[in-house]
């Protein structure tokens, strides 16, 4: 995630790309590939889809960089491109009915199951992966706009103000969506919470 202090640095690289220095774009790609990829990963629920869309996001950003005037942060602008690209992909997936459901509980078919776990305890690892699948499944079941807010806020720790800028909605709307998303997630995760498997 870009830090506030990187905003000026982003602008410098943007200007170099706009001046014709194509290779300068690689710095911006490396800086934002992880956060952009992860937003898409959690919102689309599929690694291959997320990787493909993330590439499209950066290529689209490069094409549009000539029109970028620096009125908003580069990161805000990039996130907006990512959300637009992801929305188009969600529509396409919905039409094709190929969206992968990750709350099936089947580890053999769960694309998100191949997560390396640094913790040494195997039973904890299994439980943790199971919880991740449940959480991802709960996110997949949310309204798209609500899911996006909880991903940006609780997963990527974006401020309410920044989320409002990215989504172009008032902060009050952001908080409303977040409340709704958390209530829905709580309903899905109550068994896990009540069993105190989730520690406060």
């Amino acid at each position: 995630m870009s830090k506030p202090g990187d905003e000026t640095d982003d602008a410098t690289w943007v200007q170099r790309v706009q001046a014709g220095e194509t290779e300068a774009f690689d710095t911006l790609v490396r800086r934002y590939q992880t956060p952009i990829y992860n937003v898409l990963l959690r919102w689309l629920g599929d690694r291959d889809e997320a990787a493909e869309v993330a590439q499209d996001v950066f290529v689209a950003a490069f094409r549009a960089l000539g029109r970028f005037r620096g009125e908003a942060r580069f990161s805000t602008w990039l996130y907006q491109i990512a959300i637009n690209q992801a929305k188009n992909r969600r529509k396409a997936l919905a039409r094709a009915a190929t969206h992968v459901v990750h709350n099936s509980g089947d580890p053999e078919n769960d694309p998100l199951d191949r997560v390396p776990d640094p913790r040494p305890n195997p039973s904890d690892e299994i439980e943790r992966r199971q919880l991740q699948r449940v959480v991802q499944g709960a996110i997949n079941g949310l309204d798209a706009d609500d899911a996006l807010v909880v991903i940006l806020r609780d997963l990527q720790q974006q401020s309410y103000q920044e989320i409002a800028r990215i989504l172009a909605v008032p902060e009050g709307t952001v908080k409303s969506r977040l409340y709704r998303a958390r209530q829905a997630l709580k309903a899905r995760l109550v068994p896990w919470v009540s069993s105190q498997r989730i520690r406060l």
Binding site: T34, Y37, V59, V150, K175
Partner: protein, 334 residues
């Protein structure tokens, strides 16, 4: 605080965004309220569950793949390319655009007459409007020259001796405008001066002071150039309603003036009173001597005739040159 108020603040409490006082109040309430505490724990659990989702790195080679596609992108067109490429399309478009702009500008330039012509046209319209039947202001009889809008030269002060200072460019322009105004165009209703014997009436088609509309001569008993005599002549002009023209080539022997055409007779009468010819010598200048110059035949026009309204019709101004015949200097007796 009530449970509803507490639960409204639970998200901010869990995220540690409350001010210290409110945070303490919520914490105190949670310690004694199992319902709100369970709600807080559930909320915290959800937030933690999402936050604990692993952050994954993009697939290996991701940035290289992106840059490969970026390098394959066509270069953004330069300003020159955006304006002129392709030439076979954009050059004709630019040419047509320039032609339209130039043509529009030329048309606007041609459609707007110069300011001087506009002023003259407005002045002519005043005279022409009067010629079309507009009533002129009633003239007092006798009285000062009527105020008109077409003879700004009448306002000029008369130089001592009747001689005008050297004409300036403004004077010349005013005179040219005046000359156009007094042009006899024979428009309907315009006054046409009658040609009288010995007098010459000319249409105002002159462009200089060589051709007055009327020529009058007054014989005076005074020696040549006598200032008082000249002053009497100018006074007679003004009594008749005329206006001296200081910008005209007045000399010690001539006085140029403008006067309404229907006041020429009055001027004649006034000048006759100044004449040296005693009234008991008829035939010899009974009244002011008329100019010796025979009027051109083409200028014979009735002073007033049937069908010509002199009451309501607009009266044209005529330019008159009064020539002074001075008394011969007396020879001393031997």
């Amino acid at each position: 605080m009530t449970c509803d108020a507490i639960q409204e603040r639970l998200a901010a409490y869990v995220e540690r965004q409350l001010d210290p006082e409110t945070h303490r109040l919520v914490e105190t309430h949670l310690a004694s309220c199992p319902t709100c505490r369970a709600e807080a724990e559930a909320l915290a659990g959800v937030i933690r569950a999402v936050a604990d989702l692993p952050v994954e790195a993009p697939p290996p080679g991701f940035s290289q793949a992106v840059m490969a596609r970026v390098r394959a992108e066509p270069r953004a067109p330069t300003v020159w390319e955006r304006l002129f490429v392709p030439l076979w399309i954009k050059l004709p478009v630019h040419a047509v655009a320039w032609i339209v702009v130039i043509a529009a500008g030329w048309y606007l330039f041609r459609a707007t007459p110069p300011v001087q012509v506009q002023v003259a046209q407005r002045s002519e319209e005043v005279v022409g409007g009067a010629a079309k039947g507009d009533e002129l202001p009633a003239e007092p009889h006798p009285g000062p020259p009527p105020e008109t809008a077409i003879a700004p030269t009448e306002k000029l002060p008369t130089a001592p001796g009747g001689l005008k200072p050297p004409a300036t460019d403004a004077d010349v322009r005013r005179m040219e405008t005046f000359e156009r105004q007094t042009k006899d165009e024979a428009a309907p209703g315009r006054y046409d001066a009658k040609k009288e014997s010995g007098s010459r009436t000319t249409p105002s088609s002159v462009q200089s002071f060589s051709e007055p509309d009327q020529e009058l001569t007054v014989a005076l008993n005074d020696p040549p150039g006598d200032e008082q005599a000249l002053a009497r002549v100018r006074a007679a002009v003004e009594r008749a309603g005329g206006s001296p023209l200081p910008t005209a080539p007045n000399t010690s022997d001539t006085v140029w003036l403008t006067i309404n055409a229907d006041r020429v007779d009055v001027l004649r009468q006034e000048l006759r009173l100044l004449s040296r010819v005693p009234p008991d010598q008829p035939g010899k200048g009974d009244g002011p001597s008329m100019s010796a110059a025979a009027p051109p035949a083409s200028l014979n026009t009735p002073l007033a005739g049937p069908g010509v309204k002199t009451d309501d019709a607009p009266v044209a101004k005529v330019r008159v040159r009064v020539t002074i015949q001075w008394a011969a200097p007396q020879q001393s007796l031997p």
